[in-house]
């Protein structure tokens, strides 16, 4: 059974004629062409389909589209403001936190929601926050570094700093 549903995505209103049983992930990808949201496991395990609903991270593969009408949804496509990428997107690029890139949208959105709530997290808190987002390239070190670089810890922890690199200049950052 099809029905017209209204969705508020990335600051725009959409009216979509779609099946009521469709997940938000399916509507985003198949009906709206917003393929930045990835279908990884389709079981709520990998976090690749993460989107923000009212600022909180949700797994769009486990969310029915009809259930989120009228709510503010943000996907990776909507994270840039006026063509300017979000600071997390810049950090992921700069820090080499992207390999194949499949987990990246979900990872960045999870990190954004987390930093909005906890702007000065410890490394452990960051790791816990992204524990629901799997990276099969296993590039977690760079991802954690990228997130922490956007939110410097209040205490100057020597995290990531290797003793033998001290005083070597900036050739390795």
């Amino acid at each position: 059974m099809k029905r017209v549903i209204k969705l508020h995505i990335n600051g725009e209103e959409f009216e979509v004629l779609t099946e009521v049983h469709k997940t938000l992930l399916e509507v985003l990808r198949e009906d709206l062409g917003l393929t930045g949201t990835k279908r990884g496991c389709d079981l709520g395990t990998c976090g690749a389909c993460t989107v923000l609903i009212e600022g909180k991270p949700f797994l769009s593969c486990l969310t029915l589209a009809v259930d989120v009408q009228g709510k503010k949804i943000v996907t990776i496509e909507g994270l840039s403001q006026d063509g300017e990428p979000h600071s997390l997107q810049k950090a992921f690029v700069k820090k080499g936190a992207i390999q194949c890139g499949f987990c990246t949208p979900g990872m960045i959105l999870t990190a954004k929601a987390f930093l909005d709530e906890n702007p000065h997290p410890s490394e452990g808190e960051v790791k816990k926050a992204i524990s629901g987002n799997l990276c099969r390239c296993t590039g977690y070190v760079k991802i954690v570094e990228a997130i922490l670089s956007v939110a410097p810890s209040p205490s100057p922890l020597p995290r990531g700093e290797r003793v033998w690199e001290r005083g070597k200049g900036d050739s390795h950052e």
Partner: protein
């Protein structure tokens, strides 16, 4: 010769921006006119020799264009596939 702009430095991957902004197109993101979807039917039994696959039921479903069932599976080497173990 000190004109090396890239060598010895950390440069972002060429496609990093596309991936960070969701613009990158992965194979699963592509849609083409008249595109068909395929699905692999796996044997429910490990090490089983596949002698026959009955596709007649599947082929009656609206939208199903057909299945590719190759007889050679039974004659040649049997390939084993298992979930999640590559």
């Amino acid at each position: 010769m000190n004109n090396l702009d890239v060598v010895g430095k950390r440069e972002p991957m060429l496609d990093a921006w596309e991936k960070a902004t969701g613009r990158a197109r992965f194979t699963d993101d592509l849609t083409l006119p008249g595109m068909l979807y395929g699905k692999i039917l796996r044997s429910p039994l490990a090490h089983a020799k596949i002698l026959h696959v009955d596709l007649s039921g599947a082929e009656k479903i609206i939208g199903v264009k057909g299945g590719d069932q190759r007889k050679r599976y039974s004659e040649e080497k049997v390939w084993h596939c298992s979930h999640g173990k590559g």
